[in-house]
Point group: C2
């Protein structure tokens, strides 16, 4: 754009000195005399000189920019990730270029290429659901661009990854119910093909086993769409059946919300008749305080961690100390118990 840009040259001309002197004065180089520094800074202020970062970028072959590819911005979890990334990047002096794949493979490829062309110093990548071919990723890795995967990763042996420990989170959730005395805990499963669902189901089963409770198939309830309505409908069905559940572990909070409503409409009390805990995907867990506990996915921390990992690699690379290594950070979920009213201990027995 034709901004009426003030350049180093303008300052040099006006002061009858050379551009390099101005450049040095501006960065407080020890060689430069105090007088020149003063003059330069004064004039720079007066003209409201702003350095042209683009020129700098070209010169230094470094843009201080990281590219972020995100499957879907409008998703509570991913938006917290972005926020964490932005937080760390800002403090470290990096810009964030955001690109949304919208779960489309072709968009992802296009974005990776465009980000490379913009010479971002590194990329944070969470793969789209469609992605099964990884040539685009290999290609930029081979070009030496540091990459960190978050949440949805590709098994490259030379790039770092940040993931959430859903298995442990699920165990913790179920243990929380058991500790309150629940013995018949149902699990609303959610989209069955996703790794998170599988891991959480595994955590559910293991928690039961470790507590010597039976794992019964009829308590593992398919809820493929993972929606509020489905959670409600399924729960109504369960309540009308012979199953006598006293706890629900939900794959997400919309379903937990639906379950809660079904239970309340039936005239039952939460948590005393049936306790509920759910993973917080949409953060409506935050809104359903009085009767529910939730397990939070640490999206913000994931963004921070991924950005930190990436920036460390970038800075090492600048110093030529960079050697691509795989590093895997596994983040713990957080058990959020907003509800102080646990089940009455009397029931425990």
């Amino acid at each position: 754009m034709k901004f009426n840009q003030v350049t180093i040259k303008d300052i040099a001309r006006e002061l009858n000195i050379s551009p390099s002197t101005v450049s040095r004065a501006l960065k407080d180089h020890p060689d430069i005399s105090v007088d020149t520094k003063k003059a330069v800074n004064a004039l720079a202020d007066k003209l409201n000189y702003q350095p042209n970062i683009v020129a700098l970028n070209l010169r230094q072959k470094k843009t201080n920019t990281i590219g972020v590819i995100i499957p879907e911005v409008v998703h509570f979890f991913f938006s917290t990730v972005i926020s964490g990334i932005e937080d760390v990047a800002y403090q470290a002096g990096y810009n964030v270029i955001l690109a949304q794949s919208n779960e489309s493979y072709s968009r992802e490829v296009a974005h990776v290429k465009a980000l490379f062309n913009s010479r971002v110093d590194g990329m944070l990548l969470s793969l789209s659901r469609e992605t099964t071919n990884f040539d685009h990723v290999e290609s930029i890795i081979s070009k030496g661009v540091p990459i960190v995967f978050y949440d949805r990763m590709y098994n490259s042996p030379t790039s770092s990854k940040v993931i959430v420990d859903d298995y442990a989170g699920a165990k913790e959730a179920v243990n929380h119910l058991i500790a309150q005395g629940c013995k018949n805990i149902a699990h609303l499963v959610g989209a069955p093909n996703l790794i998170i669902s599988i891991e959480r189901l595994r955590g559910y089963k293991d928690a039961l086993k470790e507590n010597n409770l039976p794992v019964r198939d009829e308590y593992i309830i398919a809820c493929d769409s993972g929606t509020f309505e489905e959670g409600k409908k399924i729960t109504e069905k369960v309540l009308a059946s012979k199953l006598k559940i006293d706890g629900i572990f939900s794959n997400n909070d919309p379903m937990a919300m639906g379950a809660m409503l079904a239970i309340k409409e039936k005239g039952l009390k939460i948590p005393d008749d049936i306790a509920i805990i759910g993973f917080s995907n949409w953060f409506i867990g935050e809104l359903m305080e009085p009767s529910l506990s939730t397990i939070d996915q640490p999206g913000f921390e994931m963004g921070q961690e991924a950005a930190r990992l990436l920036i460390r690699q970038i800075e090492l690379k600048v110093k030529d100390q960079y050697e691509p290594v795989e590093e895997i950070k596994v983040l713990r979920t957080r058990l959020i118990i907003r509800n102080s009213s646990l089940r009455k201990q009397a029931k425990k027995k």
Copy 2:
């Protein structure tokens, strides 16, 4: 970064031609012979040549990048705005640099300056809550950087704005209740200092007046925190009082959700006993289908519209046809009635 970058020079050397020829061949310049073009393109493909956009940016004084300052990424509304921006920007070939003010004035100032230094072609700006001084904005406007404000704006006479018509939305919401036969409609107000609250309250009052219904202060219910619990508590209080309401217009969906729960726990039916409609801030409206209607804020469209406006200004500026003009787009809210079961018409009388 020291990517093993393939440059135009490399291609030129290998082919024994000049860099300028390569440059022209790559952009299919008519002067260049078919043979050279073929050779150049073949080699470029083979070496996987990717143009260095940074160099281009410096050369053309244009970065094809827009800077976005957002108060808070982790907010349903703003995340939809980002998504809309990204959508339009991507299709127009622009990068999006995202900067979060976190509702802090000093961060906002720092970001505006940094974005200018990165020579973004234009900025999309929504002011932080703290911002009362506008020097930083004036400064870059005076430098000729196109700006479009969205949602939270500064009254500059030379920059465009995109806002939501909350007043009309509120009227539509209340009319929707009235059309179903509600006569005693309460309004859960929400944070009273925000313009959106004021506009929505105004819409509520005017809708009543235009339908010859009385505006009664005891039906305008303060809910300053705007939370689920507050909505629930307040509604319980209302239900226990002498007020006999048959409709609720809520400033947001968490409160609407709370109201719903209070009503259901009391054993009343929605919408037949009491109908509810709420503005959708957290999108949990999407999740509360069976019993509620919502008014959506068009965040995605706002992002799209703002980006379109900005890009148009940028492209005009490139052609030197740019003359800063104020343009105000007022976006309509969307009445979302997911619930087909309106109040029974019998009750209308």
